[in-house]
Amino acid sequence: MASFFSTQLNEQIKGFLGRYETKRSSILPILHAIQDENDWISPEAVQALEAEHGLSVIDVNEVLSFYTMYRKAPPKPYRLEVCGSISCWLNGADKTISEAKQYIAQAEKSGKPIPFECHKVECLGVCGYAPVALVNKDRHLNVTPELARKLMDEYSKKELPAAAKKCAADLAARAAHK
């Protein structure tokens, strides 16, 4: 039977399974690896971890539901995550967040959607350069509403990340299958 995971991902998973003192410790890093390749963690992936690698669904779901970095639904290709905790808030994070959300909504309305979603997150740990934001794994500092718009424009012009493409292809295949 073909594996649910790619060859490369399976190698990574096996590496993590043998890396720590217990198999259970490998759950967090494995979920990171799955998300890095697929952009999210589907219920099917959780099932496959049990069927193919012996990690129980209940243990995996315990981790998946507790930690906020794991995406349990397919996301947009780019996530603008703006810190809204105290230091960033004092430096205008709320304005950055509301204007970024507005920008995304307007693009949608005008029929030219941009591949972005925007979330308020808690402290990102670089508080001196507030507001701080992440675009996927890239950190940006002093993110004013203007900079947020500029970032969204710039990333939108780039080729989509590999994980986003894979996510879209998987969803299309799933829709066709139904």
């Binding site: 004092l90 430096n91 402290c123 507030a130 794994k137």
Partner: protein, 437 residues
């Protein structure tokens, strides 16, 4: 009473470089630069000089070094709690930096992660651990890469492995990456997470030093605490104690945030005057605004008024005497035009979001505090609400497995108490909006 108020007059912050020696040096992150500045000499001194574990612990005890993550527990004493003799022991670095306002540990990794690795090797030798982890928060993509690179270099250079520097000492090191949970910065929550579970704290005692990761003796130390250890071993406990106050020895990384002219991570001796730090070192508030309040040690630290800042010194004792804490050294500056009720609502949002949900007073209490402070902002408050908030917060203290609940209660008690008049203005707004007296 702290006596260092005037002792630093006329001295510049760059005279206090212990952890930040490599600041401004090109290619500071490389192993080569680290070695040029005395890197791994402390480890060599211990291993090749055949110092005993006890000797190492005694130097750290004598230095007066206290945990830099927030709790301020004496480091050498903590190490001494690990049972002697054979058996697996673990050392874990808490690099889950997530206390709002705090960005000092990442600065250490940005300067040179080898400081941390050498400090970890020394601590591991002292407690007899052959395996250690660096637990990093998942959003620290660059910091993770810097630590991984430094570990790789340390293995290649023979500082890590089965036979460290040919001395027979064995130590292996790995990183472990979190996934977005503030509570994993609590040491037993961190251990739960490293075990592949929800990051929920465990009841103490037993303390991790006796029963920690996988039930084995485990020491969890903050990045800054461990990174300063090589300097202490190289220069001696007395040299370190020349900085700071009698009870708060040494230097500390202070990270300032909020609208100040020169934000950043500053190394200063403990006992340094807070007002001088804000106005002279950091250039005061942007636009010359007046100071309203300061949260001195990260979001969990009770707030200080501008009047209290006037005479405050930055050390464990002075902050505690004012009912607050040094915490992680995260100084959050609040200007005159920001409403303290809004500050409270923002902080309560954080604590509500990050409560792990294990204990009822915390899970429910943080929700109530958020609802009440939000209600006041939305004009639904009534006189006495500020007292009710402080009362609920008071009932959340000392009743839970970990101190998260107490941390949430800190600002929820201090803000209504010190800024009650600002709450009254919201109640008035409500009554005038409804056209009644």
């Amino acid at each position: 009473m702290p006596v260092m108020n005037s002792a630093y007059n006329g001295r510049q912050p760059n005279e206090f470089k212990v952890l930040t020696e490599l600041e401004g040096i090109p290619n500071s992150r490389s192993l080569e630069v680290y070695k040029k500045h005395g890197g791994y000499a402390a480890l060599e001194k211990i291993l090749k000089g055949k110092m005993s574990q006890e000797e190492v612990i005694n130097i750290v005890k004598a230095s007066g070094l206290r945990g830099r993550g927030g709790a301020g527990f004496p480091t050498g004493m903590k190490w001494g709690f690990v049972p002697k003799g054979e058996g697996e022991k673990y050392l874990i670095t808490n690099f889950d930096e997530g206390e709002p306002g705090t960005y000092k540990d990442r600065y250490i990794a940005e300067l040179n992660a080898h400081m941390l690795i050498e400090g970890k090797l020394i601590a591991a030798y002292a407690i007899g651990a052959s395996k250690s982890y660096i637990y990093l928060r998942g959003e620290f993509y660059d910091e993770i890469a810097w630590c991984e690179q430094a570990i790789k270099e340390a293995y290649a250079a023979g500082y890590l492995g089965d036979n460290v520097m040919g001395t027979g000492f064995k130590h292996h090191m790995d990183v472990y990456i979190g996934a977005g949970a503030y509570i994993c910065g609590e040491e037993t929550g961190l251990i739960s997470s490293l075990e592949g579970k929800k990051g929920q704290p465990k009841l103490k005692p037993p303390f991790p030093a006796v029963k920690g990761y996988l039930g084995k003796p485990t020491i969890v130390n903050n990045v800054e605490t461990l990174a300063v250890v090589p300097w202490i071993i190289r220069n001696g406990a007395e040299a370190y104690k020349k900085f700071g106050t009698e009870k708060s020895a040494g230097t500390k990384l202070f990270n300032i945030s909020g609208p100040v002219v020169r934000p950043g991570c500053y190394e200063l001796p403990l006992g340094y005057p807070l007002k001088r730090f804000i106005y002279e070192d950091c250039g005061g508030l942007i636009g010359g605004k007046k100071l309203k309040a300061v949260i001195p040690g990260g979001a969990s630290a009770p707030v200080l008024t501008a009047a209290e800042v006037e005479t405050m010194t930055m050390d464990y004792e002075a902050f505690a005497a004012a009912g607050s804490m040094l915490g992680s050294g995260a100084v959050i500056v609040i200007p005159e035009d920001v409403s303290m009720v809004e500050v409270l609502e923002n902080l309560m949002h954080f604590f509500k979001d990050e409560s792990c949900g294990q204990c009822t007073p915390c899970r429910e209490g943080t929700g109530w505090l958020l609802k009440m402070s939000r209600g006041i902002l939305q004009g639904e408050g009534q006189p006495g609400d500020e007292k009710k908030i402080a009362e609920v917060a008071g009932k959340m203290m000392g009743r839970t497995i970990c101190t998260f609940s107490d941390a949430a209660a800190g600002p929820a008690r201090s803000i209504p108490q010190k800024f009650a008049h600002e709450f009254l203005e919201y109640y008035k707004k409500k009554s005038s909006a409804h056209g009644q007296g």
